[in-house]
């Protein structure tokens, strides 16, 4: 059954766990494998952490997560209205980070792209960033 949800939350780090637990509950009716479930949770955690740490570096803003189940695909959009990304191509490169002194690995987008089936990132300086991602959940015969 198709389904859709939206949550909005403050860009504070304890909401990283909130976002991944909400998405896990939302996709549970699709009977994802443990591997699929952890892929989606990890990708959401990465995108939400990016919004909190990089989107709103000095302020608390609003992060929105929209998720939609269409047949056996889950579409997830995580967006902020923060500072935006100056050079998107650079940001998507493995190991690239604007905060090396904070011990950031620069692997966030690489993990999102590896764990999800389709990923697009759009960003506008001073307007914010949106990460759209899709994961197809395998149908297991019951």
């Amino acid at each position: 059954m198709n389904n859709k949800m939206t949550i909005k939350f403050d860009s504070v780090s304890q909401n990283e766990a909130l976002a991944r637990n909400v998405i896990a509950s939302f996709i549970l009716p699709l009977n994802p494998s443990l591997s699929e479930l952890s892929d989606v949770k990890t990708a959401v955690s990465e995108a939400v952490t990016n919004a909190i740490v990089h989107g709103y570096p000095d302020t608390v803003g609003e992060v929105t997560m929209v998720a939609e189940i269409i047949d056996s695909d889950v579409h997830i959009s995580i967006s902020d209205s923060g500072v935006g990304i100056d050079d998107l191509n650079k940001a998507l490169e493995p190991f690239f980070t604007t905060k090396p002194d904070d011990e950031r690995s620069g692997m966030g987008f690489t993990i999102i792209k590896t764990f999800m089936d389709d990923v697009t990132v759009s960003s506008r300086l001073n307007f914010g960033t949106t990460v759209n991602m899709v994961k197809s959940i395998s149908k297991v015969a019951v």
Binding site: S13, S35, E103
Partner: protein, 101 residues
């Protein structure tokens, strides 16, 4: 996330339990560094058998410890990651510098 450690002669084991994300890692760094700076050892084994979730924040946190430990001539290893934690480690290439044992 909870951190425990056990010193066994020249080895120290650091156990991570719970979830490692940006929120929990920020609090854990000081605890880990306190353990690592106040003990003498040649080898560190970071144990993930009770880690239920980890994102790339865990990679940054471990590489930060690795750099400090390397300067002291200490070797670092990773042990017992779950299937999903192992997947994040593999993608990051961290096993090149901190092998899995």
């Amino acid at each position: 996330m909870e951190i425990k450690s056990k010193l066994d002669k020249s080895r120290i084991y650091v156990y991570f339990s719970g979830e490692i994300d940006e929120h929990s890692a920020n609090k854990a760094r000081a605890t880990i560094d306190n353990v690592l700076e106040n003990n003498n050892f040649k080898v560190v084994i970071f144990d993930f058998s009770n880690t239920s979730f980890m994102d790339s924040t865990g990679i940054g946190m471990l590489l930060g410890r690795y750099k400090k430990l390397k300067k002291r001539g200490v070797s670092s290893y990773i042990s017992n990651p779950s299937f999903s934690v192992n997947k994040v480690f593999q993608i990051s290439g961290i096993y090149d510098v901190m092998p899995k044992i």
